[in-house]
Structures are given as structure tokens and as C-alpha cells.
Amino acid sequence: MTIFTVDVEDTPGVLTRVASLFRRRAFNIDSLTVGRTASPGLSRMTIVVDAEGDAARRVEAHLYKLVNVVRVENVTTRPAVLRDLAMIKVATTAETRAQIMQLADVFRARVLDVSPDSLVIEITGTEDKVDGLVDVLRPYGLLEMARTGQLAMCRGTGAAATTARPSRRTEVEAEPAAFAASV
């Protein structure tokens, strides 16, 4: 698995373009998150892709060929913090509720909702940690789960620096105001 953070122009269709690239080149996406960044007009994608070594390098090269892609960073080999957020709805009874809440506490998870026969638990952490909580909750009955997939960020002030080759696409403000294809 390789984890990329990809800054893209926030234009309609950009998600399609990125997703289409992975489909077209037959790379498997393990997870993909997208959201706003601190810079107006830029979105950050965190993409976990089933590719290693030179295949990962080619993924990066292909991403750079997309006009709306501004910056690509392979964070797999760099000091980075990784987080996954999950909301887990687990079945409870009067007897099990306290046990489950204790387990959640051990994992530093939070209880978001308490109903007569279920709890909704929020957990943030590395993928392993989230998986660990899911495993211990499974015997009680998982009713529903939603996960964000991984988010990644490099540690320290080197975050904005990149080892990637320079690209004219860093000149975001110079891009024409045309709209890309709608998603």
C-alpha cells in the first residue's frame, strides 16, 4: 500500500478525473478521502492505493499529468501522521452496555448516541487502532459502520515542501476560470 496526499484544484469533475485515472490504469484504490484545505480553491485528497515501488512512482507521474492536480506527495516513506475516523453502531442490552462503554473508553473512543438497544461510538486513530476496536465490538453485534478512510499529513514544517518535480500546475491562480466536466 502506498499513501498519497494530493492537492487538487477545487473544480467540478476533479474527483472523476482522479478516480478515472485509477480505473483506466487498473490501480486499486484502497481508500480515498477528499475535503477542503486551508487554501481557498484547493482540496486535499488522501489516496491509499494498492501499488508499491515503481508502480507507485508511476501513479504519481500519472497524477501529475492531470491538469487539476497541483501537488502530489508520497507520504508512505516520510514521517507522517495517519488518522482514520469511524462511527460504529453496536447492539446493546442492559447487561452489555456498560462493558461496551468500558471498551470504548480503553480505546479513547467517544459515545455519540445512546439508544435502548444500541450505541453509536466514534473513534479516531490509526487504521490498526480502529480495526482493533471493531474486532472487540464485533461479538456484541455490529449494526452499522461508517469510516472516512485514511487521512495523512507530514510531520513538521516540511509538509508544504515536496520532493515532486516542479510543475506549472503550482501556478493555480493562472489557470483559466473554465469549468471542468461535471462529476
Binding site: 483506466r24 508511476r58 499529468k65 483559466p176 476560470a177 469549468f179 471542468a180
Partner: protein, 568 residues
């Protein structure tokens, strides 16, 4: 000054140096067509929008300039898809402009609405949907920059009807016009040194010369590089013309229907210097047994091509001209006479192509046609081929000395490409002698463009290699499907009468002796001549590496056929 989006469109095209567009009008592009009359741009009316894209492609390949095609929304746009994919696979710079329904109608399944930006997403370098007149100028500027920069390719601009009709200031922001492209980082000294060291130490090196040499205008540099280091050169199909065929270091074409000595040399080489080529499956055959003894250096503008099919020892990313220019002064002068003699010896036993020494028994073979066409035109024509057997025979028997003198669909293998692409080439280079070499199958896919030729008064000659079959498919059926000729026998109209119906001249040749007189007559005739060459029906392109087969194990022409005088 306020202008309409349609006016700004043409103004922008003029600014980009566009002198001709190939197109077909329709409802959603009508405002643009109305404005066109006021601008100094020639419009070639095509008979099918696929033709417009191939013409723009032929224009681009003949000159290196960006070709422009224009069509309406819906079916006009979808008809362009094949031509766009063809240009994408062969890295040909195109800007395709399509009309789109009004922006408020988008998504409503309006009449002739189609999601052409969605459809062409994987077959363009990029595409744009323009919904405001003020976006037209910057988008055109960006599209041309993108189409021609880096690895060239097609860009599509979909412009809504209201964007064409709306008004905006016509000036283009200067910063954007002159923005330019930051050059990709050229490789550092360590990689250049590693490449030079491999070249210096190689005893059996080969240059694999691809399309990138033509796209980059690196012919002279690569020739000097080859001469200085004394390295023989093998050509890909699209690389043909990059190094003159008559150059002593040029070995000929590699790959599936390449020369046996070239493929054998690749298998025996200790170093491959791949320049502007992408190790397509048609040139490598079985990757597991490909060039097993060779170290590999790959000079390539697209970093995504490095290590894609063949792992290389040194990958140099950048414009091929710049890379070769950096290597050239430092490359050790070499003497590979032993290696060259060895390849010559391979050639001695395998050079089955010298048909001048063949007995002429009256049969007409495609090889005769191409060989005689080459001799009669002095090898100076721009030849535009379609896809199939005739394409391979052309590559084998017509020897190209000049860059951009062979125009052919390689990557996508698009039948129907030749005739419209030749129109684009002729329009781009009116002084060049342009020949179409096309099969009876591919010709019938786009022969409606004969009307375009007639309307534009073009002087293009068409050699139809007519064998009554979809020949290459038939050949595969012969080799790999036990001669079960499913759907390959092909009926055709009388091409002579057909040419005359279009107001052109038609001729028919059925024997070898008629080839050169017919070619001479066609050359002398002012205007287009269609020559129907009735060739041997079940002739086969030899030699051949079966798909995925080992490069050094080629199917050769069996002796029984050799007696008929076809070859060998």
C-alpha cells in the same frame, strides 16, 4: 471591446496561428460558424466528424503544429471520439472544439445533448466545458499550450451555445498568454553519467528510435549521436523517417512485422538505448524473453512510461532533443564494426525483401505495388497509410528518408484513418506529394471524404491495395484460427467508377507491369486519382512474431509461396 464568445473563439484561434480548421456545422455550434466568416481561417467541410479529427491529426503529424477540428454537440461530438483516441495513443497535438447545448439545459437530456467531456475524459490530455464567453479566450490559450507541450495530445473544448452568444471583453490576460510551461527537471549528472558509462562499455548496443524523435525534432541529433558512438538504429513503426532509411546505420523496422535481423539484434544486444518510444507490445513480443542480455537506457518525455512495460537500468526523463543534446558531446566515440558486421551477416541470410531480384510471373503482389510506388516517387512522397496488411507492407517496402513522411495510426490502429489524415497532410503541406495507401476495408470506412477532396480541389493520390479480404484479420485466421475465414471476405464497389462519380479519376491495375505506368500517370495528373490495385487475395505479411511470442521466433514465408514470386 465587447465581443461575443463566438468572435473571441476565432480571434483566439487566429492568435494561436491557426490557418485551417476541419469541421461540420450543427445547431449548438451555429453561433461559432456564423462568426467564422469574418476571420481569416480556412474551413474544410468534412463529410463525417471522425474525418475532421483524422484530418486535424494528419495536419498535426505532417507539420508538428496543432490540428483543429470543430463539430456540433451530441452526435457531432461523439463522432469525434475515434479520432481523438487515435491522436491520444499516438501523442498527436489536437484541439477539438464542440458546441454544447445552452448551459441551463445541461443535464436535462436536451436535443443533441451529450456529456462529451465525460466521454472523452480518458482519451484526452484534458478537456474543458466552457459556459461563459469570458472563459473562451483563456481556455483556448490553455488548450493549445497543453496540446503541444510535454508529450503532445488531444484537448477538447466543449462550448455551450450561450457562451458563444454571450459577450465579454475580448482581450486575453497577458500573464496567462505568456505563462508557458516550467520545464520538467532534466536528469542530474549522476543519471547522465550512468547512461554514458553504459554506452561506453557496450559492445553490442542498439538505438530504438521512436515517434518521440519526430515529435521533438531530434532527427539530426539522434543521427549524430548514432554516428559518433557507431550504434546501429532500429525503428518503430511511428519512428520511421526519424533516421533516413538510406542511412548505413539504419537497420529497419523492429517488432511484429519487423526485419528478422533487427529483432535478432535486439535479442542479442547488450545495450538498448530507447529514444522516444514506449516498448509497445507490438515491438517487444513476449516480455519475459525480450532482449534478455541487454541493459536498457530509456530517453522519454513522459515519466509514466519509464518502467511501464520493460524495466530499465537508466531512465532519463525530458524532451528527447534536450536529452540527446546533453549526451552527445560526452558520448564516447565508438567503433562497433564487429557488431555491425555480425548484424550484416544476419541480414545476409534473412534479407528476403529484395523483390527486384524476384521472377516477375505476372501475379500482382502488394509488395510490388509498394516497392514500385517507392521507386516511382523517388521515396519523396508523404505516404499516409491505413491499418492492416498494406500498412505493414508499406513500412517494409517504402523507404522513408524524411521525418514526417510516413503518417499512420499506430497505437490505436484505426481503420479509416488514411484518407482523411491525408487530406489534413495535403492541406498542411500543399507542395508535398501525398499518397494514400489503404486497404479495401479501411477505404470503405471513410471514403465519403472523397467528396471533401473534390470540393477542396486537392491533389492526393490513393493506392487501394484491394485483395477482397479484411487481409490482416484473414491472416490471423489463417495462422491461428485454422483458416476459418469468419466475416473477412469483403465485397467492394467498383472503385474506378466510384472515383469518377466523385468527379475524380479512377484507374485499375491487375499486373505488375502496370504499376509504374499507373503511378506515373497519377503523378502527372493534376487532381486526385484513385488506383484500384487488384492484388493477390491470400497474400500474407511475413515475417511475423505471433502476438506475445518471442521476438526471435518469427514466422517466415514458406518456400511454396516463394515460388510464386511474391517475395523471398
Amino acid at each position: 471591446m465587447q465581443k461575443t464568445g463566438a468572435q473571441i473563439l476565432w480571434e483566439s484561434l487566429v492568435r494561436e496561428g491557426v490557418d485551417v480548421v476541419f469541421g461540420y456545422p450543427g445547431g449548438a455550434i451555429l453561433p461559432a460558424y456564423d462568426a467564422m466568416l469574418d476571420y481569416p481561417i480556412r474551413h474544410v467541410l468534412v463529410r463525417h466528424e471522425q474525418g475532421a479529427t483524422h484530418m486535424a491529426d494528419g495536419y498535426a503529424r505532417a507539420t508538428g503544429r496543432v490540428g483543429v477540428a470543430i463539430a456540433t454537440s451530441g452526435p457531432g461530438a461523439t463522432n469525434m471520439v475515434t479520432g481523438i483516441a487515435t491522436a491520444m495513443m499516438d501523442s498527436s497535438p489536437l484541439v477539438c472544439i464542440t458546441g454544447q447545448v445552452g448551459s441551463r439545459l445541461i443535464g436535462s437530456d436536451a436535443f443533441q445533448e451529450t456529456d462529451i467531456t465525460g466521454i472523452t475524459l480518458p482519451i484526452t490530455k484534458h478537456n474543458y466545458l466552457v459556459t461563459r464567453a469570458s472563459d473562451v479566450a483563456p481556455t483556448i490559450a490553455a488548450a493549445f499550450d497543453l496540446a503541444r507541450s510535454g508529450r503532445p495530445g488531444p484537448v477538447l473544448i466543449d462550448i455551450t451555445k450561450d457562451a458563444q452568444q454571450g459577450s465579454s471583453e475580448s482581450g486575453v490576460p497577458a500573464d496567462l498568454r505568456r505563462r508557458g510551461r516550467q520545464p520538467d527537471q532534466l536528469p542530474g549528472h549522476d543519471l547522465i553519467d550512468a547512461a554514458l558509462k553504459l554506452i561506453g562499455g557496450a559492445e553490442r548496443p542498439l538505438i530504438l528510435a521512436g515517434h518521440g524523435i519526430l515529435l521533438s525534432g531530434a532527427s539530426d541529433l539522434v543521427r549524430r549521436f548514432a554516428e559518433r558512438a557507431d550504434v546501429p538504429v532500429a525503428m518503430t513503426l511511428l519512428g520511421i523517417g526519424g533516421i533516413p532509411a538510406s542511412h548505413p546505420l539504419n537497420l529497419g523496422m523492429m517488432g511484429m512485422h519487423g526485419e528478422p535481423w533487427v529483432n535478432q539484434a535486439i535479442q542479442e544486444a547488450d545495450l538498448l538505448i530507447a529514444i522516444g518510444m514506449r516498448f509497445d507490445d507490438r515491438v517487444t513480443g513476449n516480455l519475459k524473453t525480450y532482449a534478455p542480455r541487454a541493459k536498457k537506457i530509456h530517453l522519454e518525455i513522459d515519466p509514466a512510461e519509464i518502467n511501464k512495460n520493460v524495466p530499465v537500468d537508466v531512465g532519463l526523463v525530458g524532451d528527447v532533443s534536450e536529452l540527446v543534446a546533453r549526451l552527445l558531446p560526452h558520448v564516447p566515440e565508438g567503433d562497433r564494426s564487429a557488431w555491425r558486421s555480425h548484424i550484416d551477416a544476419l541480414k545476409g541470410t534473412a534479407a528476403v525483401r529484395d523483390i527486384q531480384t524476384l521472377p516477375d510471373n505476372g501475379h500482382l503482389y502488394a509488395a510490388h505495388v509498394l516497392h514500385d510506388l517507392w521507386r516511382e516517387t523517388g521515396g519523396n512522397a508523404v505516404v499516409v497509410t491505413d491499418v492492416g496488411q498494406h500498412q505493414m507492407w508499406e513500412a517494409q517496402y517504402y523507404h522513408h528518408d524524411a521525418p514526417r513522411s510516413l503518417i499512420t495510426s499506430g497505437g490505436l490502429g484505426t481503420m479509416g484513418f488514411a484518407l482523411p489524415a491525408a487530406i489534413g497532410a495535403k492541406v498542411a503541406r500543399p507542395d508535398a506529394e501525398v499518397w494514400v495507401v489503404v486497404g479495401d476495408g479501411g477505404f470503405q470506412m471513410t471514403l465519403c471524404e472523397l467528396a471533401t477532396i473534390a470540393q477542396e480541389n486537392l491533389d492526393i493520390n490513393v493506392a487501394v491495395i484491394n485483395n477482397g479480404y479484411l487481409g490482416m484479420v484473414r491472416q490471423w485466421q489463417e495462422f491461428f484460427y485454422e483458416r476459418r475465414y469468419a466475416a473477412t471476405p469483403l465485397a467492394s464497389p467498383d472503385f474506378v467508377t466510384l472515383a469518377e462519380a466523385y468527379g475524380l479519376r479512377g484507374m485499375r491495375v491487375t499486373e505488375r507491369a502496370g504499376v509504374r505506368p499507373a503511378v506515373a500517370a497519377a503523378r502527372a495528373h493534376r487532381g486526385t486519382v484513385v488506383i484500384d490495385f487488384r492484388v493477390e487475395q491470400e497474400d500474407t505479411v511475413y515475417p511475423m512474431v505471433p502476438a506475445g511470442g518471442d521476438l526471435h521466433r518469427m514466422i517466415r514465408r514458406p518456400p511454396v509461396l516463394a515460388e510464386t514470386g511474391a517475395d523471398a
